[in-house]
């Protein structure tokens, strides 16, 4: 059958001994090493990119949690702030922030003189310019909230302006101040002197998490309060809607549905929905929820609904995987003792699949929390200063969301907002980390191998 004559002994170019490698083998070994190194290099690039990304954002953002404040004693002069002396709030409201500004200015000048800080190099207005424009309003609110403060001397903490804040964080230098219309090197020298005298210091700033957004000119008072609340509202809506709907859909598709064209269509549908770009969901929300159904713009309810639609495919896919992982023997056992199909699912399969479902839900929520593109289209980029009320009315009131707040801050010209945006990212990442940690713990705790 075979032609044995065609076969000769081992080819000539094969090395005689196993112990010596010929040139070709060495080349092949080198190629092997090179290929391996390419793999290592690819992984290193990926991991380095991750590290670089995180350090760059974190490095920029930590500053946002610290804030430079000016701390001076202020005597709240009754003669200026409540001329009538009646403590009548309606009368006291007549004194505007300008009036309070003057009180602060007087107190600041007195304190500077007291500490022996020479302010002759700059105008009186510019000394005031070291403080946030928000200071007067803060003081006014404080007094109106508690008129008994009148006549007393209190220690007042005012935010320094973002430039002074940046100076103590290293973002603003004497050189940059020369070119800056908002601050001069002379002002910074005074600030330095105040710092040395202990009137100015940089402290931990809870306000970043609790205050609402501020105007372009006052980055020092911008906070994430509204954004965190808005995001929380939306997450609640997403959880309340997508978990039951997702679980119901999965149960139907995985356990009940007959295998036919129709269920096939639903399945293909869900697979595709998972890959539809998020911005398309934004367009849907704009057209359907806002233009057609007339829901208000910028409202958490609309954001929550669109994020629900986006999260559903993720939850459905995770839930189906969890249901699939429950072995059929459990179903058979339940059916075998006379339970109905529905009972076997709700009494046995679903509880066993619950850890997997919850893990998938949390991961879906985490994704929704970081999503920004669709929220831009439903008007969540609007400037929102007021906190929304408690639900349910609050769900219809304008709010913003963490990732959108980041975007909004990056669109502003003052570099202090970049620090705020990075700080907001840290907050966002901390939330995501927490959610993922919960998901991992859930999985570890309850994971079952059948």
């Amino acid at each position: 059958m075979t032609d044995a004559s065609m076969h000769d002994a081992a080819p000539q170019n094969r090395p005689a001994s196993l112990l010596t490698a010929d040139a070709r083998t060495r080349r092949r070994k080198a190629a092997e090493t090179r290929f391996r190194l390419m793999g290592v290099a690819a992984i290193s690039v990926g991991l380095l990119a991750l590290v670089f990304l995180l350090t760059s954002v974190l490095g920029n953002g930590f500053g946002a949690f610290r804030q430079t404040v000016v701390e001076i004693p202020i005597t709240l002069d009754e003669a200026v702030l409540d001329k009538s002396g009646t403590r009548d709030l309606e009368v006291m409201k007549k004194v505007t922030t300008i009036g309070y500004g003057k009180v602060i200015q007087k107190a600041l000048e007195a304190e500077l003189a007291n500490r022996g800080i020479d302010t002759s190099a700059v105008k009186a207005k510019d000394v005031m310019g070291l403080m946030s424009k928000e200071a007067a309003a803060d003081l006014r609110n404080m007094v109106l909230a508690d008129p008994s403060l009148l006549g007393q001397t209190i220690t007042f903490n005012a935010f320094a302006t973002s430039r002074v804040d940046g100076f103590f964080k290293g973002r603003v230098t004497m050189e940059s101040a020369k070119l800056d219309s908002n601050i001069s090197p002379e002002q910074l020298q005074i600030a330095q002197a105040m710092h040395d005298a202990g009137i100015i210091e940089t402290k931990w700033n809870w306000g970043f998490l609790t205050m609402s957004d501020s105007s372009e000119l006052r980055p020092e008072t911008a906070g994430l309060g509204v954004a965190i609340l808005g995001s929380a509202y939306m997450m609640i809506i997403v959880l309340v809607l997508s978990l039951p709907i997702g679980v119901a859909t999965s149960i139907y598709l995985e356990e009940m549905a007959p295998k036919n064209k129709w269920t096939d269509l639903i399945e293909v549908n869900i697979a595709n929905l998972a890959a539809v770009p998020s911005i398309v969901y934004g367009i849907l929300a704009l057209a359907l929820f806002i233009n057609f159904m007339g829901l208000p713009q910028s409202a958490p309810i609309v954001g929550g609904l669109v994020l629900t639609l986006m999260t559903l495919p993720t939850i459905i896919i995770a839930t189906r995987a969890a249901l699939k992982a429950v072995p059929p023997s459990i179903r058979d056992a339940a059916l075998g003792v006379g339970a109905s199909k529905m009972q076997s699912i709700f009494h046995h399969v679903l509880p066993l699949a619950m850890p997997g479902i919850l893990t998938g839900t949390i991961l879906g929520l985490a994704r929704a929390l970081g999503e920004s593109a669709p929220l831009l289209l439903i008007g969540m980029v609007a400037f929102v200063k007021d906190f929304p009320a408690a639900p349910p009315q609050g769900l219809m009131q304008p709010a913003t969301a963490l990732p959108v707040q980041v975007y909004q801050w990056t669109q502003r010209s003052d570099p202090a907002f970049v620090e705020r945006a990075s700080g907001a990212i840290i907050v966002l990442l901390v939330f995501l980390l927490l959610m993922n940690a919960v998901a991992i713990v859930l999985r570890r705790r309850f994971e079952r191998r059948w």
Partner: protein
Amino acid sequence: MNDMRIADRKVSTETAKMTARGVQVYYGENHALKDVDVDILSGTVTAFIGPSGCGKSTFLRCLNRMNDTVASARVLGEIKLDGENIYDKRVDPVTLRARVGMVFQKPNPFPKSIYENVAYGPRIHGLTRNKAELDEVVEMSLKRAALWNEVKDRLDAPGTGLSGGQQQRLCIARAVATSPEVLLMDEPCSALDPIATAQVEELIDELRSQFSVVIVTHSMQQAARVSQRTAFFHLGHLVEYGETGQIFTNPKDPRTESYITGRIG
């Protein structure tokens, strides 16, 4: 048991192609192979038989260091090919495997054309200088595997499209194309139907003229049909090794006898 006729062909027992001394294999904590000594003779078909999990496949995979691809495997002892220890640090398993080829239990043609499947070995080892030589090697290997006539008109068709028996012969052709000195076959017929099995067995006998062939098999009939020497493994021990005729007709060890008569296995 009347199909257990012993091959009464001439047995050439001149030289030992491979020698194994004191081979131990561990998979993690599991001691899979205990102190095995075997000589593989050139120009001979050697069969390894024994019940499942007895270590026969493990030992086969030691002979061309395929166990290196299993992370947890550890091989102790000494295996020599033409007097050189194949577990020597200086030995590149790649060169070793070019000389000790292997055919697997399930036909595993690459998802490439028939031609490319056979040309794979010569290409990676640089055995041919040009396309004409390569064509020649491919044709020769397919002829040796008794597959040429069936596939010569469709060398560009995918190898995975062949029938099971054809696929296994393609894998044999693929192994032959590298011109190995020893050909290891790990239950090559277990996934084949009786007709394909007969074809492959016939082929094994043909191959004996150029290679040492080592075949692991579950079927004692097959061992009896194709091999000149047989080794019986049991629970990781080499129980008995000798001429096939002697093992099947006059086993020395009671365990061998029990296995051959069907009492263990």
